[in-house]
């Protein structure tokens, strides 16, 4: 089980936008440099965050800014935006069990309620962590270097 890089990349972008967005225009090209991810993937992620009203991007001239308070941007919101079905994909289920075996026939139905319980716990935890905390964390860590 693993959540794709997209969530981490999105957080990376949001920190950059928060930290550098006031002085300079934060473009997908710049975010690509900073993250080591190609600009098209960055734009896909930005596009998803835009649809969820987390950021807004000036079309034409470019540059992204946050459009809601960092306290309201949870990890859950970010994951949902960039990978809408991440909870369904959390646990893989083998796709072709034997329909002749009573276990094979029912395995998916048997697993789902338990997996849903876990998904709910995960959701709750992801909702409890906000960009406000993460940015605080970033500031502490990066200040320590000076």
């Amino acid at each position: 089980m693993h959540i794709s890089n997209k969530c981490s990349i999105a957080v990376h972008c949001l920190i950059c936008i928060h930290e550098f967005g006031k002085e300079s225009r934060v473009t997908s090209e710049m975010l690509a440099m900073s993250s080591g991810i190609n600009p098209v993937t960055i734009r896909g992620i930005m596009s998803a965050l835009k649809k969820d009203n987390v950021i807004s991007v000036k079309s034409g001239v470019g540059g992204a800014v946050l459009c809601c308070p960092t306290e309201e941007i949870t990890l859950y919101r970010i994951c949902s935006a960039v990978e809408p079905d991440f909870l369904e994909k959390l646990f893989g289920i083998h796709s072709s069990p034997s329909q002749l075996c009573p276990v094979g026939k029912n395995i998916s139905a048997v697993l789902k309620p338990s997996y849903n319980e876990v998904a709910e716990a995960l959701t709750k935890s992801l909702k409890s962590i906000t960009m406000a905390e993460i940015i605080d964390n970033y500031k502490n860590i990066s200040n320590r270097e000076n």
Copy 2:
């Protein structure tokens, strides 16, 4: 993010072993038929469960039996057995951020504490679900058909 099929396959095998293990010898060949997964993968999973003392397998003649109470077999234990580093892999982090950018340089350290919090919540939830419940669930669902 997603947990690989292995956990689901392991649960499938454990249900079969619990339900059919007393009357017949549950072999990897039979589990492969029931799950639709090839016998080598099954044997790999069985091997992992054996190392964790969840099951024991008669070598030579074959056949697996549970060797601990179903209440003590949690989803956490199963996941850890079949995929020891599943918690570290839960969230992917992009691997080559720019070391020249203050965000890039620190992103991994910034993300880790938050991701660990989530991993702990997940762990707790996975520990709360046991094979005893899942087998109950299986019995309810499969009886409904008759």
